[in-house]
């Protein structure tokens, strides 16, 4: 098992490298001069100041050197600030691998700190939605397969199509109109009551209901559909017929023999689902003014705050890869055959 985990971790390294390369290339492709963006609010910046800043940030270097600085920092070398070819001061950048994602242009704060403040809120939203997705999707899928071709099956199939086709922002608007505007029973946006300091978990719960439902819709649909297929396949296998032949009751067959095997591949679904949920969270957080990473990145895009955009993209990818790792390891735990591959 340990060998398997180590192998999976090592496999993630080229992917991570690819992500840093991709986001760096995209950052280079961004139009406009980063120095102009940084000095946007400093009207007294002279061309000499700008040139000095450019050298200080290493933006005068060739792209490959810039990438290396961005990845591992430049505090192991000296920076030539006045452009005479001799390095004067020690570099200060730590590099992405040591958690230095640069400074936000608008807020002049480390991007890493800004992301770390927001990630817990995003995780709270996505992990709850994941939980709800599994809690509703699994029974829906299994029951649809067990009651194959019944009205419930038809309903589950319809739901699995509609759940993936509904745009989340629209569903959110409809829910807001019904539950916040018309009925007035759920808060319209935010994560907690800002007028009070000491809110408990139960005070915050109403704020989570609509965002989580909207976000988990796609997961419920995908999981129920996946599990329905999976269960139908398991139910057509020989050992299920044997179980019936032994005289077991249908319930014992379904819940003891079929479900156990049908559920195994669902573990692999956690990883991809986290990717979809992180994507979906961008829109859901924007609509419900949920103070998470998604809303941060949308604002950053409007402000052309490239370090913040790149930082959140890399961070979302890291979260996603972690999710994939966890789901692979879980799968290997529940299904020993995987470890041998």
């Amino acid at each position: 098992m340990t060998a398997y985990m180590i192998r999976r971790l090592v496999q993630a390294i080229p992917t991570l490298f690819g992500i840093t390369l991709l986001s760096f290339l995209l950052m280079m492709a961004a139009p406009g001069d980063p120095i102009d963006l940084i000095t946007f609010q400093q009207l007294n910046a002279t061309p000499a100041d700008k040139a000095r800043m450019r050298r200080q940030l290493g933006l005068d270097q060739p792209p490959l050197v810039q990438y290396v600085y961005w990845l591992i920092g430049n505090d192991w070398t000296t920076v030539d600030v006045d452009g005479d070819g001799v390095g004067e001061i020690q570099g200060t950048r730590q590099g992405f691998l040591r958690g230095d994602l640069g400074n936000s242009i608008m807020q002049k704060r480390p991007v890493f700190d800004m992301l770390m403040e927001r990630i817990p809120a995003t995780l709270r939203l996505t992990l709850t939605a994941l939980l709800l997705g599994y809690a509703v999707g699994i029974p829906l899928g299994v029951l649809a397969a067990v009651k194959h071709r019944s009205w419930f099956d038809q309903f589950a199939r319809f739901f699995s199509v509609i759940g993936n086709a509904l745009p989340s922002f629209w569903l959110a608007l409809i829910l807001i109109i019904i539950f916040s505007v018309r009925l007035g029973i759920l808060p319209i946006s935010g994560m907690r009551d800002l007028s009070r300091q000491d809110t408990t978990f139960f005070d915050d719960l109403p704020y989570m209901i609509m965002p989580v439902i909207v976000l988990s819709m796609g997961t419920i649909a995908s999981i129920s559909r996946f599990l329905r297929t999976e269960t139908l396949e398991v139910l057509s296998q020989d050992y299920i017929r044997t179980a019936y032949a032994k005289g077991l009751s249908p319930h014992a067959v379904w819940w003891k023999h079929a479900l156990r095997n049908a559920l195994l591949p669902v573990a692999t679904f956690i990883g991809p689902a986290i990717g979809f949920l992180l994507s979906g969270a961008v829109i859901v957080e924007t609509i419900f003014a949920w103070p998470g990473m998604g809303r941060l990145v949308v604002n950053a895009v409007f402000e052309r705050d490239y370090p913040l955009i790149m930082g959140s993209v890399v961070m979302s990818a890291v979260l996603f890869i972690l999710g994939l790792l966890v789901s692979d390891i879980l799968y290997a735990l529940v299904d020993p055959r995987i470890r041998l591959r």
Binding site: T15, L173, S279
Partner: protein
């Protein structure tokens, strides 16, 4: 003895008559024709497409309906009120006409982007699957990297770098959505490569591009067609999401997504302005998914032999 050979021949003849060779495509058409739900979805999609193509000029010509004419008096007119079939928006513009124009933008972006996306996916998938080796390793690395970034974040990055106009959006959406198709194509090419007809073609010295175009691509058409439908659906969703955030199609050009952008500020006055764009997005996406599913069943030889096909999810778990 004689009679027995005769009857055997007769049985063979009858059998040939019964199973008169129909091609996969003929079988698929027959299957599709009997699949009511898929046919309904196709009809709805054709209707929506024609309506958004020819609706606005016709409306202008016959009813003198101008999509950009504003009217302060008619702000938030309800559906049916003052001759507005689906009501008027926050500037008093006819919503029905604007929906048709928006459909033109949303649907054409979806069609164009999915065709481009499938083209990229098939080309890269064939090359990776055919050559294998280092090229394939590079390809796998590329798609693993692309799929490890949540898609919305990639879309946001791209939309922030290239200012979004419809042509740019088409390219962005296509560049970020070819992965699933390429993966499927690559897998299919791997198995086709080992088949006799490809081996023979290779052994008589057919150049690779000819093997790809005459032997591989025709066998990939089922994947292509199914993915064209499903990608169109998911791209409508992606475009409308981006436009809703204000990072996709920019006003005054309307798309179904950006018609909802400011809806939070006016839904108290006109719920119909929130309902209709969303209904049209959901309806068209749902139809594309249903058509994709229906085509998958129709083009899958296993279905035609009468096995139960349960259909795999549009989003399949990575093995």
């Amino acid at each position: 003895m004689n009679t027995s050979t005769e009857s055997t021949a007769q049985i063979i003849r009858l059998a040939e008559e019964e199973f008169k060779s129909r091609s996969l495509w003929q079988d698929a058409l027959i299957y599709l024709w009997r699949d009511r739900l898929t046919m309904l979805a196709i009809v709805i999609l054709v209707f929506l497409t024609l309506l958004s193509l020819f609706g606005p000029p016709l409306a202008q010509h016959f009813f003198d309906l101008d999509p950009n004419r504003t009217s302060v008096l008619d702000k938030y007119a309800l559906p049916g009120e003052k001759d507005y079939l689906l009501g008027a928006d926050q500037l008093g513009r006819d919503q029905f006409v604007r929906l048709m124009i928006g459909g033109r933008v949303s649907l054409s972006i979806a069609y164009a982007a999915s065709i481009l996306s499938i083209t990229i996916g098939v080309a890269l998938g064939i090359i990776a699957g055919y050559y294998g080796g280092v090229i394939d390793d590079l390809f796998v690395w590329l798609i693993t990297t692309l799929t490890s970034i949540p898609s919305m974040f990639l879309l946001l990055i791209a939309a922030s770098i290239w200012s979004p106009s419809p042509p740019v959006l088409i390219i962005i959406l296509a560049l970020l959505s070819w992965v699933e198709t390429a993966r499927l194509v690559r897998g299919q090419v791997f198995s086709l490569r080992e088949r006799d007809f490809v081996m023979v073609a290779y052994s008589v010295g057919t150049p690779p591009w000819r093997i790809m175009t005459t032997h591989l691509i025709p066998n990939l058409l089922p994947i292509v067609i199914v993915n064209l439908a499903i990608t169109s659906g998911s791209l409508i969703l992606a475009e409308s999401g981006l436009s809703f955030l204000g990072l996709g199609v920019q006003p005054p050009t309307s798309s179904w997504g950006n018609m909802l952008t400011n809806s939070r500020t006016y839904f108290a006055k006109g719920v119909h302005l929130v309902m209709w764009p969303g209904i049209l997005i959901s309806l068209s996406v749902m139809c594309f998914y249903l058509v994709g599913d229906g085509l998958r069943d129709a083009l899958d030889p296993r279905t035609l032999r009468g096995q139960t096909v349960t259909g795999s999810g549009t989003i399949s778990a990575k093995a």
